[in-house]
């Protein structure tokens, strides 16, 4: 690998849009789920209840919280895979509360926001080589000649610690962390204004994780890309975000500066989270959230 700060030929596009990169108000998601009590066939399940936040260009927002608290659902609504039940979403100055109506609209949204999914394997096409998958994104979102694209693929793979040879294989031939890095490289390829990372470094050993964190911090500085960084790892959230939002059962229980939340949490749940981080002297014991 070359140093993560390498003077890459591309990926230096500076973003200029007016106003915040992302603005969300009163975002809500209700799922209709089967199997209600008392013989009812369906009932409503509120997965996200009124989340509001604003993310400036070049800034980074962490979303932490309980498993099942709605983090991925928020991400999926932002990228348009899941329809919001209420609230408004603005990305790069444009409203996306309604579904994209045309192919060109979908493409534009893709160049504004990319996502690295929590489950990398299921989000990669099993029949497509790694090179093919990144090439597709480059073709769709950037104007480049074929040799330029080839060069760029090698560079992107290198940045996430993968070799040219690994670009030739299928996702199934890679380890879990290698697939996760492919998903990161693919999302970066589009040079989006906003990158959503859903547990995107959780399957990486700490040394490669450090490389990716350094890379993300470099790119943010250089290009003004904004991140929404969903993670259970509070130490990583400390390194890559400046604002943090804490979710529990679909509700935002605390939000503000990352430093403040990690150094002087106010909500009891946030305090419990911090107390549960394995550190020297940590002993496994039931915490019992409720």
């Amino acid at each position: 690998m070359s140093d993560a700060t390498s003077n890459t030929a591309t990926a230096n596009k500076v973003r200029r849009v007016d106003g915040p990169a992302v603005e969300v108000a009163g975002l809500r998601k209700v799922f209709r789920v089967s199997g209600g009590a008392g013989g009812r066939r369906h009932r409503d399940f509120v997965a996200v209840e009124g989340a509001s936040f604003s993310l400036e260009q070049g800034h980074s927002l962490g979303i932490v919280g309980e498993s099942g608290s709605g983090k991925t659902t928020i991400a999926r609504m932002l990228v348009g895979i899941e329809k919001a039940s209420g609230g408004t979403m603005n990305v790069a100055g444009r409203d996306r509360s309604a579904a994209a109506k045309s192919t060109s609209e979908r493409r534009r949204r893709g160049s504004e926001m990319q996502i690295v999914f929590q489950d990398p394997y299921t989000s990669l096409d099993p029949r497509q080589s790694i090179n093919g998958c990144i090439n597709e994104v480059l073709k769709l979102h950037l104007t480049m000649t074929e040799p330029e694209r080839r060069q760029r693929i090698i560079e992107l793979l290198d940045q996430v610690g993968l070799t040219e040879r690994q670009g030739l294989v299928l996702p199934k031939n890679l380890s879990g962390g290698q697939r996760q890095r492919v998903a990161i490289a693919r999302a970066l390829a589009a040079e989006p204004a906003v990158l959503v990372l859903d547990e995107a470094v959780s399957a990486l050993d700490v040394s490669i994780q450090a490389q990716i964190i350094n890379l993300l911090n470099d790119i943010r500085e250089r290009t003004n890309m904004a991140y929404i960084f969903i993670s259970h790892n509070l130490a990583v959230v400390r390194q890559v975000t400046d604002q943090t939002l804490v979710l529990k059962k679909g509700v935002v229980v605390e939000q503000g500066d990352t430093e403040k939340i990690l150094d002087a949490p106010e909500d009891d749940y946030t305090k419990l989270l911090l107390a549960s981080v394995p550190e020297p002297g940590w002993k496994p014991r039931r915490v019992n959230v409720d």
Partner: protein, 335 residues
């Protein structure tokens, strides 16, 4: 003495583009009853394949050589029927990517009870009851409703806990846990680890525990094995490993940890690129990235040697004095 699990000189070759490539080299490790052995190391170094070998669940056409024994009996000559029985009763795996390994068209309840109903002849209703109880124990509310849902209706961490519950239902003697808590928030993780810890204490359940969380590994395991490029390069106790790592890779890995209480301008990373086993040069697999490399490192593969109770594969292990925290820059060679 017989070990519960003994992996002895295991090598594994897998096929990519119709050619075999080595992914594990001369891996030896044991797990005793009621013992937790953590497997840490670089992405792609072979942790998952080591665990999968124990259950004969390598990818298609995968070849293994060496020996794997359970309770003193070699598994290498097992028929596919033997393997099936072994996996249904003695040892079970929590897979790394639950969404890719749980059938998306089956309800959670069917996934959880399949093994009990088919291999243990348990009544379906009883099996569902047990499944619901276990789901509640791993912190999933409304467990009975969850049993009727499909995998896509559950969050990543919920599905991971479903996978954990599916393994606990079998009550195996050995669990191969491949990053079982990566999708869990830290409080839920503490609950799940506590459950596993109880099973170890009460039922002498043993575990091969793959994780990237070096603090979690330290708190939960009796020994830690570190993998690099298909080799186990160090085996040590948690205390030893954290205070006096013996392999330069281990020390570099420890120094890359992000800190919870402090933001680091630039995290220390290991220079150079990760290697797969088959790409490793002759000699020490870490030589190209090692700050302490010498001529001998390119000449011969370091053999495992015992130093102060730890096992390490490094020619220079006895003369180096390595440190595990950043700030104490790089570590100095002992004069």
């Amino acid at each position: 003495m017989t070990h519960l699990l003994e992996i002895d000189h295991l090598s594994v070759d897998l096929v990519t583009h119709r050619r075999y490539h080595k992914v594990l080299q001369d891996v030896s490790v044991t797990v005793e009853k009621a013992e937790v052995v953590s497997l840490v190391g670089e992405s792609g170094s072979g942790k998952s394949m080591t665990a999968r070998s124990v259950l004969n669940l390598l990818p298609a056409q995968g070849k293994m050589s060496g020996n794997i024994a359970f309770d003193g009996q070699s598994l290498m000559d097992s028929t596919s029927k033997d393997w099936q029985k072994f996996r249904a009763t003695k040892a079970a795996m929590i897979f790394q990517d639950p969404r890719a390994s749980i059938n998306p068209v089956h309800r959670i309840g069917d996934f959880l009870t399949e093994a009990l109903v088919h291999n243990r002849d348990m009544d379906r209703h009883e099996a569902l009851e047990r499944a619901a109880t276990l789901l509640e124990q791993v912190g999933i509310d409304d467990a009975r409703r969850r049993l009727r849902q499909y995998p896509h209706e559950l969050s990543g961490g919920m599905l991971q806990r479903v996978m954990i519950a599916s393994v606990l239902l079998i009550e195996p003697q050995l669990i191969l846990a491949d990053e079982p808590t990566t999708a869990l928030d830290v409080t839920t993780q503490a609950d799940v680890i506590a459950i596993l810890d109880d099973l170890r204490a009460q039922r002498e359940m043993a575990m091969l525990f793959i994780t990237h969380d070096l603090e979690l590994a330290a708190a939960f395991s009796d020994r830690i094995a570190v993998m690099y490029a298909g080799y186990i390069v160090e085996v040590s106790t948690p205390a030893q490993l954290h205070t006096r790592p013996l392999h330069p890779y281990t020390a570099a890995l420890l120094r890359s940890r992000p800190m919870l209480h402090e933001r680091t301008a630039r995290l220390p990373q290991i220079s150079g690129r990760p290697l797969s086993a088959f790409e490793a040069p002759p000699g020490c697999p870490f030589q190209d990235r090692c700050p302490y490399v010498q001529a001998q490192c390119g000449e011969s593969l370091p053999q495992p040697q015992l130093i102060g109770g730890s096992i390490v594969r490094c020619h220079r292990a006895s003369e180096l004095e390595l440190v595990s925290t950043a700030g104490a820059e790089g570590g100095q060679s002992h004069e």
